[in-house]
């Protein structure tokens, strides 16, 4: 009764006992709601569809994706950027908020971090899917070989590969290191194969002061590394375009624009997953409405930043002296893809204003819908960067306004969502998706703080 009133305005109930926390979270590893299995099956099915399409494309050639001479990239690269962007919010929550001691992140950063990792994996997948000769992908690796050749370090694509590899591995380490104490807890309470499984992962963590001491510092250090890394990753992805000569791409404001878009879509995605996890794992106590509220406000702020940079992009082109770039911009607004373009602008810049209403922020189903729409908008943004420019570039003879992705291409794009969902669901079933020890800290410190307050 009392707790309920508390939960309304407080991020978390302070009278949660530590053992209670352990029990609740560990429960998520054993018996989630049935919805979990439904979602998992769904994701798996979609993934299989994508897999089929990819197999067909691999065998027949990229032509089946419906791409053609001017439009050589299509949805693959667009979706690749989308997934890269998705990954950034994990870092935002786990690293940035960690450094500025915003402790409300604690219950939700773990799955955000996981999201980072898996969306990066998905993005990496698209690099492969998009290649004409996937089987020769090792040519891009800088390793000593009998050909005495090296990849071309000048290519932004190679920077991509490097940045993504760094980001992915660092995120995985960050996620893992941050989860060691929780693995220890799982180990202590688990039985059977799980005990050995978590035992291995826990590396024999015993919560000694020495371990905690080093743990705190290294965690902080890695967090500090992750922030510039995340920024660099998406700047580099942006430079894939900004460094090229295509009209509408050759814009200096692209990197910040991309980063903002990344955080934006990431936050939206967090809201989606927040709601899902809260339901399937009965995390009402931990993923509370106030936290959702904070996340939503953060999302709104970022949405505004993105909108601003979006306008900057248009302005740069508009006041720039490249007639062709201007033409391409107009083409986006009026051409065959104008529908998607306007939809993108609406979903990206107008829709977020619904988040200024507290009622909306507190309404789970509403937030679910909005967050999904926001991500749709962000995905469209990526597509509107890639395709319109290709279809209306410098060379009029090769203009092709009729490009539309084939079913195979769509299949693979959707498949990627299945693949992501599958991995993510799997993860949440195996790893505590709420960081137990940090929630404990949260509760502990908040109680402490209140005590001091009352004493004073």
């Amino acid at each position: 009764m009392n707790s309920v009133t508390q939960a309304k305005d407080k991020d978390i109930r302070e009278d949660l006992s530590w053992s209670q926390i352990n029990r609740d979270v560990l429960a998520s590893l054993e018996r989630p709601r049935a919805t979990y299995w439904v979602l998992f099956a769904l994701a798996f099915a979609v993934f299989l569809v994508g897999l089929g399409c990819e197999a067909y494309q691999y065998d027949t050639g990229l032509g089946v994706s419906g791409m053609n001479n001017p439009d050589v990239w299509g949805l693959y690269i667009a979706t690749f950027i989308f997934w890269i962007g998705m990954s950034h919010s994990g870092t935002l929550l786990s690293a940035i908020l960690h450094i500025i001691h915003a402790d409300w992140r604690k219950p939700i950063y773990r799955f955000a971090e996981a999201m980072t990792t898996f969306s990066l994996m998905t993005a990496g997948l698209f690099v492969a899917v998009h290649l004409g000769r996937l089987w020769e992908i090792y040519y891009a690796l800088p390793y000593p070989n009998e050909r005495w050749t090296w990849p071309n370090f000048q290519s932004p694509l190679l920077w991509d590969a490097m940045a993504i590899f760094t980001y992915l591995s660092s995120s995985i380490l960050f996620l893992y290191v941050g989860a060691i104490p929780d693995f220890a807890i799982c180990r202590d309470y688990a039985t059977g194969w799980r005990k050995t499984f978590y035992g291995k992962l826990a590396l024999g963590w015993m919560g000694t002061d020495r371990q905690w001491r080093n743990f705190r510092v290294s965690y902080l250090v890695i967090a500090c590394f992750l922030i510039p890394l995340a920024v660099s990753v998406h700047s580099i992805v942006a430079s894939d375009f900004a460094m090229s000569q295509q009209p509408g791409w050759h814009i200096t404001s692209f990197p910040p624009y991309f980063v903002a878009g990344a955080l934006y879509s990431g936050c939206a995605a967090i809201i989606t997953l927040f709601i899902i996890l809260r339901h399937v794992f009965r995390f009402e106590e931990y993923m509370t409405l106030p936290i959702l509220d904070k996340t939503a406000r953060l999302t709104f702020a970022i949405a505004m930043v993105w909108t601003y940079l979006n306008c900057i992009e248009y302005a740069t082109v508009w006041y720039g002296d490249s007639e062709v770039a201007k033409e391409t911009l107009m083409q986006r607004a009026t051409g065959p893809y104008s529908v998607y373009w306007w939809a993108m602008n609406f979903l990206g810049s107008v829709l977020p204003f619904t988040l200024i209403f507290k009622k909306v922020r507190a309404n789970l189903s509403a937030m679910m819908v909005i967050s999904l729409l926001l991500n749709l908008g962000m995905w469209l943004e990526r597509w509107m960067i890639v395709t319109p420019t290709f279809s209306h570039g410098y060379y009029p003879w090769t203009w092709n306004h009729s490009f539309f992705p084939s079913l195979v291409q769509w299949g693979i794009v959707f498949g990627s969502f299945g693949w992501f969902g599958m991995l993510f669901m799997l993860f949440c079933k195996l790893v505590p998706s709420v960081s137990m020890y940090e929630v404990k800290e949260m509760v502990f410190h908040r109680k402490l703080a209140r005590l001091h307050a009352s004493q004073a």
């Binding site: 027949t60 050639g61 990229l62 032509g63 419906g66 791409m67 053609n68 001479n69 001017p70 439009d71 050589v72 990239w73 998009h130 290649l131 004409g132 000769r133 996937l134 020769e136 992908i137 040519y139 891009a140 005495w148 050749t149 090296w150 990849p151 071309n152 000048q154 290519s155 932004p156 694509l157 190679l158 590969a161 894939d240 460094m243 090229s244 000569q245 295509q246 290709f390 570039g393 410098y394 060379y395 003879w397 090769t398 092709n400 490009f403």
Partner: protein, 283 residues
């Protein structure tokens, strides 16, 4: 593979391109006279014949997956688009072999590089098909093998394969390809010249398109050889390889000059000079 090589190249950090005289002996280039070009397509077919280009068929052509390395573009005047009294305008467009090629820098595996005789090489078997080069090509003259034309599309049913030129490969699925200035011919010419211990003579070798062209609109040769036809044409038009603004554009004092390069302001420094089409306005 030596420290020596590293240090050696270290001295080249400040190298920018194109350098005046960066190709002291050999620089393949073209001059295409649009006044002579009639748009008859002889060059296009010659290119198909010389370079093992697959015939993709109607559906794939419709999908924009045609593989013609060389294409003849036909434009109408904005002025009399519905009553073309000035006739049409034809433009043979193939890889411009840029000196500072946008495609070269972006290839992740370095499958497209610059050769010493000023060509923009494309190594098919190194290509992994990221298609970044095509994305970055302002002329859109790079063509991607969307399918496995020899085996799966059956572009060469027996006995057509007997016509294939053994001096170059048939590109397989998933690699980028483009006009090579018929590099297989150039290589043979260089080989003969070296065997006889002499530099390459002008007119000794030419590309398939130039050789076929009934009106000799295409001139091909060694730009570094001051006496070659192509070099003379470039000089006559005051077009210089390493400038991004030619005399013609700088001041109006030379209205008679016809030489220009397409998209010069993007600074790719193309190796193909076009000569303006001339039309008699009195007629």
């Amino acid at each position: 593979m030596s420290l020596d090589a590293t240090l050696n190249d270290w001295t080249k950090l400040r190298q920018t391109h194109p350098l005046p005289g960066s190709h002291p002996d050999l620089k393949w280039a073209m001059a295409i006279d649009l006044d002579a070009c009639t748009g008859c397509n002889a060059c296009v077919v010659a290119c198909y014949a010389e370079n093992n280009l697959p015939v993709v068929g109607k559906e794939k052509f419709a999908a924009g997956q045609a593989m013609h390395w060389m294409r003849i573009e036909r434009y109408w005047n904005e002025a009399d688009e519905n009553a073309p009294e000035q006739g049409a305008q034809f433009l043979p467009m193939m890889c411009q072999q840029c000196e500072a090629a946008p495609c070269e820098t972006v290839c992740p595996v370095g499958a497209t590089n610059h050769t010493n005789d000023g060509l923009n090489s494309q190594v098919y078997n190194r290509c992994i098909g990221s298609r970044y080069c095509s994305a970055n090509c302002p002329y859109k003259v790079r063509y991607f093998n969307w399918y496995n034309y020899p085996e799966q599309v059956k572009a060469w049913p027996e006995p057509l394969p007997m016509q294939l030129n053994p001096d170059l490969t048939v590109r397989t699925k998933g690699v980028m390809e483009k006009c090579t200035f018929c590099v297989q011919r150039l290589t043979d010419a260089k080989n003969n010249a070296r065997t006889e211990g002499r530099p390459i003579r002008d007119g000794e070798v030419t590309t398939a398109c130039a050789q076929a062209c009934p009106t000799s609109a295409i001139t091909f040769g060694n730009l570094s050889d001051a006496h070659s036809q192509v070099a003379q044409k470039w000089r006559l038009q005051r077009v210089e390889l390493d400038k991004d603004k030619q005399l013609k554009d700088i001041d109006g004092s030379h209205p008679g000059l016809r030489g220009y390069r397409i998209f010069e302001d993007l600074r790719p420094y193309p190796s193909v000079m076009y000569l303006e089409r001339v039309r008699d306005t009195q007629a």
